[in-house]
């Protein structure tokens, strides 16, 4: 005999104003199987929860319905109360008479009637609920961090310092990311590499961090606590275990003709290279797309490399055995991890897309990131601001903000967040290096909301003499050999034309182009700009919709270094929380398939979006195969119910939402309808 207790919440005025709670309480008391029907102002409060506990014990309830807000708000609260009172938490359900009723209707009578129907539906369901136990899955206490920029580095260190192993995978030959390319960072003007490289070295030396560079994540399978990852290690053609980083090979490689990615094309590198002096690991790789040995073989249609084409590096390498190994092949390495943090960072927009600004046409029109390389002490000009065209010091520089950002016509509506700050910084660096130089900044707004940020931008104007002009630039062209910038200052209402020695474009921050492929592999959503989606924009900024996969840094949205670091530590904390248990508890709302009735059509296997259905062989006592049936892996299953709906033989069912429960709920509506018709 069912003994259901129903608790109806007023939620202050939220429910009480539209639904007649007294009438509802009375009607519910009349429903079959209900032994207690009571109301309370705020059931989620401490006294409210105590009321539930007392009532369960007093009346020996077999089930509880709380008619209140959305289960997304307080299901855990009420289930917790039931647990504490000794009632299986899965015998407690909520009827959402707030979000689904009082908040969306204005007619009191109709809303009250609807609330009554909703409670009856839930009561009928709860009568058929069964005691369920959370499923426990073991947790592999190793984490994967994808991306070795500042966010990836921070996350890796935080997790490793908790005593857990971290696999850090970085695509380029060194960790450090974009932060390593910066000269000084706002608002303190700390030298970027000076504050970054100690962290990089910490990563390299940390006993708990396994670092892969020149590698990518090729495949990910599995589920939270139990991911199977395939790491694609690109052939470096240099054995990193043997290489001592002496640098002799770097001296002999020729020609130095490849645009350096690290210097954003402002300098050239060789095919055998280390991206920058402070690279970690400080060991070279050979880029087989530009190495003479490989390219000449490819041109001649040969598979075999010819020593006569080159091989200088091999000749000069002092180690025994030789660290240079042209026979090295790409490798695929399996790693098992329990959690994944995506920290793939950003890239900068292709400035030539804004054709009217002449990037790519005029050498002295450069991007903000390129300016960082010029200003950087370890950069192509050793920190001196020089024009790329003739090496002269520019007497003035025009900085243009919002190049691509806040520009729906060019495809990007959002603001890139950091450009106002780094442009102010650029004007200051320019002033500090070229005392008589004049900086002009064309801006639309100044966004300086972080700690000490506003003061920083004011310094550029008030102390360092930067002239800020409010307006966009229409075009940049060359009159003879002089760059002309045609802009406007809306504050004075005057057109402005400046003969510029150099122009710096603050280009938009974009997500990496192929990250959507990685996201699909992980089950993470992304927006139209390929920024990865957090689970909740306000309250769950580091988690994703995929359990066990977390986000850190600019891959989620444009952000500055402090925010990237905070987010990375936040993601690391989530991982540490996950790893603090040996077993991870999962909701038992999972599918099960009756192997006796399963006809092995495997529609469910095709339909399951999570790959949770497997083929299971049923064998007799002698080991002979009787039949193969479908089997739902409760560790992977997310309880979506798609298999239940496609199953032809009615063999699939969902715990907590069984066919019996669902049909009873639906029929509960009809009973009332019939009664009404009769009346």
């Amino acid at each position: 005999m069912a003994k259901i207790g129903v608790f109806i919440c007023h939620c202050g005025e939220n429910i009480g104003r539209t639904v007649d709670v007294d009438e509802l309480t009375d009607e519910v008391a009349e429903m079959g199987g209900v032994v207690v029907s009571t109301d309370y102002k705020y059931v989620c409060s401490s006294p409210g929860q105590d009321l539930i506990k007392e009532t369960i014990q007093k009346h020996d309830l077999s089930g509880v319905v709380v008619a209140a807000c959305s289960p997304r708000m307080h299901e855990p609260t009420f289930r917790g109360a039931c647990s504490a009172a000794g009632l299986n938490p899965y015998l407690c359900e909520m009827a959402n008479i707030r979000e689904h009723c009082s908040w969306v209707h204005t007619d009191e009578e109709e809303a009250t009637q609807k609330a009554i129907d909703m409670v009856r539906i839930m009561t009928e369901k709860v009568k058929r609920n069964t005691e369920l136990k959370p499923i426990q899955v073991p947790v592999t206490k190793r984490a994967l961090v994808i991306g070795g920029g500042i966010a990836g580095i921070q996350a890796a260190l935080d997790i490793a310092n908790c005593g857990h192993e971290v696999v850090l995978v970085e695509k380029t030959p060194s960790i450090g990311g974009h932060m390593a390319q910066l000269s000084e960072t706002f608002p303190t003007l700390d030298c970027s590499q000076c504050i970054l490289t100690p962290r990089m070295v910490e990563v390299a030396q940390h006993p708990k961090i396994k670092l892969y560079v020149y590698a990518e994540v090729a495949e990910v399978e599995g589920y939270i606590g139990n991911f199977d990852v395939k790491v694609h290690q690109r052939a470096k053609f240099i054995n990193a275990d043997i290489c001592t980083g002496c640098g002799d090979c770097l001296e002999v490689c020729e020609p130095r003709s490849i645009p350096s990615e690290f210097d954003v094309g402002l300098s050239k590198r060789t095919a055998l290279y280390v991206p920058f002096h402070q690279a970690v690991p400080n060991k070279p790789v050979i880029d087989n797309e530009t190495c003479k040995l490989f390219t000449m073989a490819a041109e001649a249609g040969r598979e075999k490399l010819k020593r006569s084409d080159c091989g200088e590096c091999y000749e000069v390498c002092p180690t025994k055995p030789n660290a240079v190994d042209f026979n090295q092949k790409d490798e695929y390495i399996d790693e098992k991890v329990g959690a994944i943090i995506v920290a793939t960072g950003f890239e900068v927009m292709e400035a030539s897309e804004i054709a009217e600004y002449g990037y790519g046409k005029y050498e002295d029109v450069i991007t903000g990131l390129q300016f960082e390389r010029l200003a950087s002490a370890s950069g192509p000009t050793e920190g001196e601001i020089k024009r790329p065209s003739d090496g002269k010091t520019p007497e003035n520089i025009v900085f243009i903000q919002c190049v691509g950002s806040r520009d729906p016509a060019k495809g990007i509506s959002y603001c890139s967040k950091v450009c106002c700050m780094y442009t102010a910084k650029h004007t200051m660096l320019y002033k500090h290096k070229v005392h008589d130089g004049q900086a002009y900044v064309f801006y639309m707004d100044i966004r300086a909301g972080g700690k000490n940020y506003e003061e920083f931008t004011r310094r550029a104007i008030e102390e360092d003499g930067a002239i800020y002009l409010r307006g966009r630039v229409s075009r940049i062209y060359k009159e003879k050999d002089v760059l002309m910038v045609k802009g406007f200052d809306t504050l004075s209402g005057m057109p402005v034309e400046i003969a510029a020695d150099m122009v710096v474009l603050a280009t938009a921050m974009k997500a990496r182009p192929k990250v959507n492929e990685l996201a699909q592999m992980l089950g993470v959503s992304f927006d139209s700009y390929n920024f990865l989606s957090e689970a909740h924009p306000k309250l769950r900024p580091v988690e994703t919709a995929a359990a066990g996969v977390y986000l850190a840094g600019a891959c989620q949205a444009p952000k500055d270094i402090p925010d990237a670091v905070s987010q990375a530590s936040g993601a690391a904390a989530k991982v540490a929380a996950l790893f603090s248990q040996d077993l991870y508890e999962r909701e038992p709302v999972v599918a099960s398939i009756d192997e006796n009735t399963c006809v092995a059509c495997f529609f469910c296997l095709e339909a399951c979006p999570y790959g949770a259905i497997e083929r299971k062989e049923i064998k007799d006592r002698d080991g002979n195969l009787i039949k193969t049936v479908a089997f739902a892996n409760e560790a992977v299953c997310q309880g979506c119910g798609v298999c239940v709906s496609v199953c032809r033989s009615n063999s699939a069912d969902l715990a907590g939402f069984t066919d019996e429960q669902m049909f009873a709920s639906i029929e509960a509506i009809w009973e009332q309808v019939e009664e009404k018709d009769v009346a």
């Binding site: 054709a355 009217e356 046409k361 075009r475 062209y477 060359k478 009159e479 003879k480």
Partner: protein, 291 residues
């Protein structure tokens, strides 16, 4: 449109008002080279003025209706495309055709105003589109007098390429179509910064000083990049750069640069004489070109 026995391709032709008056050279040179390029220009019968700048400045409906009448007649004559040499006329025609094609209500409204059926199917073709559809090798093979060492600044003006959402052709910030044509004739296109900067258009008569100011900048930049000649695809641009250059030269003798229509340049390259293409009637002396 069918190819007739002489293997000439027929194309509708809308000369526009200026081509029988102030821009007579444009007409002369275009009709002179068309047969050499294998085209038979079939004039749209009894065509009316497109309304140019004045219609759209004063009355939107009129600005769409006047070109629509021309296109409606062209449709009626079975013309798929209509060559419109004047950039301003072309821009107005495209606006009428595209806006009507994309908005059924507007199409009906215009049909009612012009009191004739209008399907917005006949496609206006600009002079640069006309040339770009020809194989550059074909053009080069027809060249009788390659214009070697002639440095040409290609001036597109405003209305051949803008707005890009309407005229989905070439790149309005960095166009190359005219330059490709110039290369095909054997001449040398010059890269310069004022390819698409406005010449002052219709203010030639009502506010002359504007035109003098804007055209001086254009001429100066072309000259400073080493151009021997500027070529244009619009009667008004031509008038502003050529006729009005006379006034500019009074103050700045150093500017002096002849201005040709695209078709005049091509005509010379294809073997026509200066008189045949009409360049002897310009205000700025063009004799330096056809030596």
């Amino acid at each position: 449109m069918n190819n007739d026995d002489t293997n000439m391709k027929q194309i509708g032709y809308y000369p526009g008002c200026s081509l029988s008056g102030t821009a007579i050279e444009y007409n002369k040179s275009l009709t002179g080279i068309a047969p050499l390029l294998g085209f038979d220009l079939v004039e749209v019968p009894d065509w009316n003025c497109c309304g140019a700048s004045s219609a759209h400045a004063l009355n939107r409906k009129l600005s769409l209706a006047l070109p629509a009448r021309v296109l409606a007649i062209a449709e009626h004559e079975g013309m798929d495309s209509v060559l419109v040499p004047c950039a301003a006329c072309y821009n107005r025609m495209v606006k009428a055709q595209v806006e009507a094609a994309e908005n059924e209500n507007l199409k009906q409204e215009i049909s009612a105003i012009i009191e004739m059926p209008f399907l917005a199917k006949a496609k206006p073709v600009s002079i640069i589109e006309f040339f770009s559809e020809m194989d550059s090798e074909t053009i080069t093979s027809l060249v009788k007098k390659p214009l070697e060492e002639l440095k040409v600044a290609c001036y597109y003006g405003c209305l051949l390429l803008r707005p890009p959402k309407l005229i989905k052709f070439d790149d309005c910030e960095a166009p190359q179509v005219m330059e490709n044509l110039v290369t095909a004739t054997g001449a040398e296109p010059v890269e310069w910064a004022f390819k698409t900067e406005c010449c002052g258009a219709g203010f030639s008569i009502s506010k002359k000083e504007v035109v003098l100011d804007l055209t001086e900048k254009i001429l100066r930049n072309a000259k400073s990049e080493g151009a021997d000649v500027i070529i244009v695809g619009c009667p008004l641009c031509h008038a502003n750069l050529d006729l009005r250059q006379v006034d500019i030269l009074k103050k700045n003798k150093d500017i002096n640069i002849p201005v040709l229509y695209i078709t005049e340049l091509v005509g010379i390259a294809l073997g026509l004489t200066p008189k045949e293409v009409g360049m002897t009637d310009h205000f700025i002396d063009t004799s330096s070109i056809a030596v």
